[in-house]
């Protein structure tokens, strides 16, 4: 029982990391149709900026974190101004531009020699080394991991609520569906688009501030997490925040299960994202068939 609880705890922590990265991508995709592949790259740069401020320039922790997130938000502002405005109505090219941005940002990170010399650096956190024991198991959870889980719950609920209940959220969805109609309703598409990109990029920066104290501040490790988060976003159909969070938790739990129970097949761990995608496809195909079957009598009756 204790081992199973351990799987759940480790899985929830890993799943929270994937889920938190993925909800940022889902937010941008759902409201713009652009798959922001640079999400991880933006986070990596802002993480290193925060590390520079806190570790090398000895600034207070919260100022360093704010500096990192501010850089990410500024990048979002500039990306919207320079790229998105020049490629209106072309989400494919905007997606390609995020690929270019991802490469560019990784390039920026490796050009600062002292940022990447130490492969085992951790973004400092005031909560580091503080842990609590999960009741009923021998598993300890750090405060940083607990904070990430709480933040995931708050942000996923908050973003879900924002997109459905707030003026800015509804405006984002309206602009995404029809910029012209949104404009006629008094919404300024440019302002909404700018706010969205600033929010999306800022969220990416914040993600790294929460994730990097748990993992390492390492460009390769964070890139790999982003790739897994993309799979998680796929599980949510790239539009559903609740399904994305659930997908992250399922993937994390399966990986933890693999580590603790399937010790003779450690490489299977890397296949789980792919297996989950196959299962998601099968499930969606079954759903589609069911909906077609359910609609059939209605169509027949109408005819």
């Amino acid at each position: 029982m204790s081992k199973f609880l351990q799987v759940l705890v480790i899985g929830t922590i890993a799943g929270s990391i994937y889920g938190f990265i993925a909800i940022g991508m889902v937010l941008v995709y759902r409201t713009t149709g652009v798959l922001n592949v640079a999400h991880g790259g933006i986070g990596i740069l802002s993480g290193y900026v925060a590390h520079e401020l806190i570790h090398f320039r000895h600034q207070p922790y919260y100022e360093g974190i704010a500096g990192g997130v501010a850089i990410a938000a500024l990048l979002g502002f500039l990306f919207e101004l320079i790229v998105v405005r020049r490629l209106p109505g072309r989400p494919d090219l905007q997606t390609a531009a995020t690929l270019g941005l991802y490469t560019l940002l990784l390039g920026v990170v490796v050009t600062v020699p002292w940022w990447t010399t130490n492969a085992f650096q951790v973004l400092p956190s005031p909560l580091i080394d503080k842990t609590f024991k999960v009741p009923g198991s021998h598993q300890f959870v750090t405060y940083d991991q607990g904070l990430l889980m709480i933040a995931l719950a708050l942000f996923s609920v908050g973003l879900y609520w924002m997109l459905r209940r707030t003026r800015i959220g509804l405006a984002m969805r309206a602009v995404s569906d029809s910029p012209a109609a949104a404009g006629l309703m008094g919404i300024k598409p440019e302002m909404v688009s700018r706010a969205l990109w600033v929010l999306g990029f800022g969220l990416s920066g914040l993600t790294t501030m929460l994730v990097a104290p748990i993992t390492l501040l390492d460009a390769n490790a964070l890139s790999l997490l982003t790739l897994k988060a993309l799979t998680v976003a796929f599980l949510g159909g790239l539009v559903s925040l609740p399904l994305t969070v659930a997908g992250g938790l399922i993937l994390g739990t399966l990986e933890a299960f693999n580590d603790l129970y399937l010790v003779h097949a450690p490489d299977l761990k890397y296949a789980w994202p792919f297996i989950l995608m196959v299962l998601a496809l099968v499930w969606r195909a079954a759903e589609k068939r069911r909906s077609v079957r359910d609609d059939a009598p209605v169509v027949a009756a109408a005819a």
């Binding site: 995709y29 652009v34 390039g107 490796v110 790739l227 976003a233 796929f234 890397y270 994202p273």
Partner: protein, 344 residues
């Protein structure tokens, strides 16, 4: 809002076979004829001279690497014929290298036979990927291909090749292509064969069918064609080209680090394809050669400056081309050539 963003291509639609046949007597203006003759001659001279033109800037291997990247970018670009993007090409490239290494270790086939077998060996993996292509479109397929590549790299390459530089994945060069200069001609002529093959395919009935499949899958299906068969064919074709590029990469490097095949690199190569002009064979060649070879020369010319700036260079140039050069390098080339021929 659509749940998928489909990647549109900048390639011109393939000409209709009947339309081409109905204008056999089409006269080419004299200025265009002269331009084409001079252009063709210069291109032929450039191909034959090859890396010798750039020996002042770096070793022949740099140019060979550019050609290998160009072949891989062509593989990425071919999938755009059906409006899809795969980020599994680097994984397929790795399979080519591993396949060639295995054949050299276990058989004594000549290089030509090994290359053919390696290329054919790509079909099973391409079919697995192709099954996803049948169910998914746009970014959903991109993510599926990325997951496939991630699984292949972690569960296969690192297992077969080891965690870092491989001692198992050695590829030796036969005496015929021992030097980088000789290898250049082998890769170049393979690339020319691939390009001519693709060009003919684009202009055949099948090319026309593929263009119509990209435009409307429903109409394609209604007309009695099988989208599944055509899609699987294109995925297999792209996989075969990527695998062949991998075999050449193996010949060039001799030993291959397993971390080279990480899916993130596929993102970089996709950036090259977009910068070249998605769907355009010429653009893919130009983009791949430019982004593949140029950094290698810069590394030699300014090692202290360049070694740290390769990703910066890739990202910046790709971003500038995507945003400011519509149609990528292919669009730029088309506009330039239209001016040379006096069509604009």
């Amino acid at each position: 809002m659509s749940t998928t963003a489909e990647f549109q291509t900048d390639a011109p639609p393939a000409p209709d076979g009947i339309a081409v046949a109905s204008r056999p007597g089409r006269t080419v203006p004299s200025r265009a004829l002269v331009a084409r003759t001079i252009g063709g001659t210069l291109l032929a001279a450039f191909v034959l001279a090859g890396p010798k033109l750039f020996t002042w800037a770096g070793p022949a291997g740099a140019y060979d690497f550019g050609l290998t990247v160009a072949m891989l970018v062509v593989a990425v670009s071919v999938l755009a014929w059906i409006g899809e993007i795969s980020l599994a090409v680097v994984a397929q490239m790795g399979l080519g290298m591993v396949g060639l290494s295995w054949l050299q270790d276990h058989t004594s086939f000549p290089l030509a036979v090994s290359l053919v077998l390696v290329t054919l060996s790509s079909i099973p993996t391409s079919l697995i990927l192709g099954l996803f292509c049948l169910r998914l479109r746009g970014v959903n397929f991109v993510i599926a291909s990325l997951a496939f590549a991630g699984m292949t790299q972690k569960a296969f390459f690192q297992k077969v090749l080891g965690a870092a530089t491989s001692l198992h994945g050695r590829v030796s060069r036969p005496s015929l292509v021992r030097s980088d200069g000789a290898l250049y001609y082998l890769i170049m002529f393979s690339l020319i064969a691939v390009v001519i093959g693709l060009y003919l395919l684009q202009r055949s009935r099948m090319g026309t069918a593929l263009a119509s499949l990209r435009d409307s899958e429903t109409a394609f299906w209604t007309l009695g064609y099988s989208p599944a068969a055509y899609k699987l064919f294109v995925v297999c074709l792209s996989g075969a080209i990527a695998t062949l590029a991998g075999a050449y990469y193996g010949l060039l490097q001799g030993t291959v680090p397993s971390f080279y095949f990480n899916p993130g690199l596929a993102i970089v190569y996709f950036g090259f394809a977009v910068a070249g002009g998605m769907g355009s064979i010429g653009g893919a060649l130009g983009g791949g050669l430019f982004f593949g070879a140029m950094p290698k020369y810069l590394e030699v010319l300014w090692p202290s400056i360049y070694n740290k700036f390769d990703f910066l260079f890739y990202g910046l140039v790709a971003l500038v081309i995507i945003v400011w050069v519509p149609g990528g390098l292919a669009g730029l080339g088309r506009r330039f050539w239209a001016r040379v021929e006096g069509r604009s």
